[in-house]
Symmetry: C2
Subunit: 139 residues, 2 copies
Amino acid sequence: MTQDTPDKLAIPPLGTLEVAVLVHLWRVPEASSKEVHAAIGVARGISVNTVQSTLERLYRKKLLKRFKASHAFRYAPQVAREQLVAGLVNEVLSRFGGDTASSLAASVEAANWLNEEALHTLEAELKNMRTRGEALHVR
Amino acid sequence: MTQDTPDKLAIPPLGTLEVAVLVHLWRVPEASSKEVHAAIGVARGISVNTVQSTLERLYRKKLLKRFKASHAFRYAPQVAREQLVAGLVNEVLSRFGGDTASSLAASVEAANWLNEEALHTLEAELKNMRTRGEALHVR
DNA sequence: TACAAAACCGATTGATCATCGGTTTTTGTG
DNA sequence: CACAAAAACCGATGATCAATCGGTTTTGTA
């Protein structure tokens, strides 16, 4: 085994620029530093170098993957948005202890952006999960 | 109006000691700095002053309320755990954009700690919400 | 009123993000 | 094959914030 610590579930803190870059790459979903700069850097009046550092940092954090295209790197998300968000949500939930279900329920309730369709989706997912959970004997 | 920025929904960043203090006070649910120190400070080998600073910080952040009992302050949570967690979860959800429902679904799915009963609770809450949501015309 | 307990203040340390300048590496082309 | 341009890489700086504690002032109460 080559990993010293199994960081599978530890998500590093993310700054606002880092998040902006991620969000952009989830849409694109693949770009060079130059392109990212054009898309979100110019409007912020920051240099290409800053964007590049951010891409590098996200790469080191394993949130982006990259590959050479001719002589420039192209970056792409390493994790799906839902995956990352889920990780962060679970981190919050476990960090503050207490009852998970009621916390989640409160989260849903506090959300002012849940429309009819979204509720439907969630309900379906829950029902789905439940049957599978029973089969898999979720503790 | 006296407030410069409506911080209603902005939750300040919380360190590990701050969270520990909050978690403790949700259990207690009211204590002096001395008591908090005895409960969670001693085990960490930190001074009463450190605990007091933390209590003060949480008070300034409006997460604790306090009142004098004889000459010492007693602190108590200003927000319920579910409330705070919900705020943080929603912050994460909105920060990363994308589809809320699928992100929440992924969160539930990624959780390995949801048991049969918890799922039940959540489902009930959703059903409940839905009817109310329709009545309130949630966008 | 004296004193012990607690609040208050301010300084220090240590992370971490954001930002950019300067240097090295790579590569396409004349 | 040499060279100029483009990109990666490295390292420094500034800002913010949590955590920590020592020292000083305030305040009940015996």
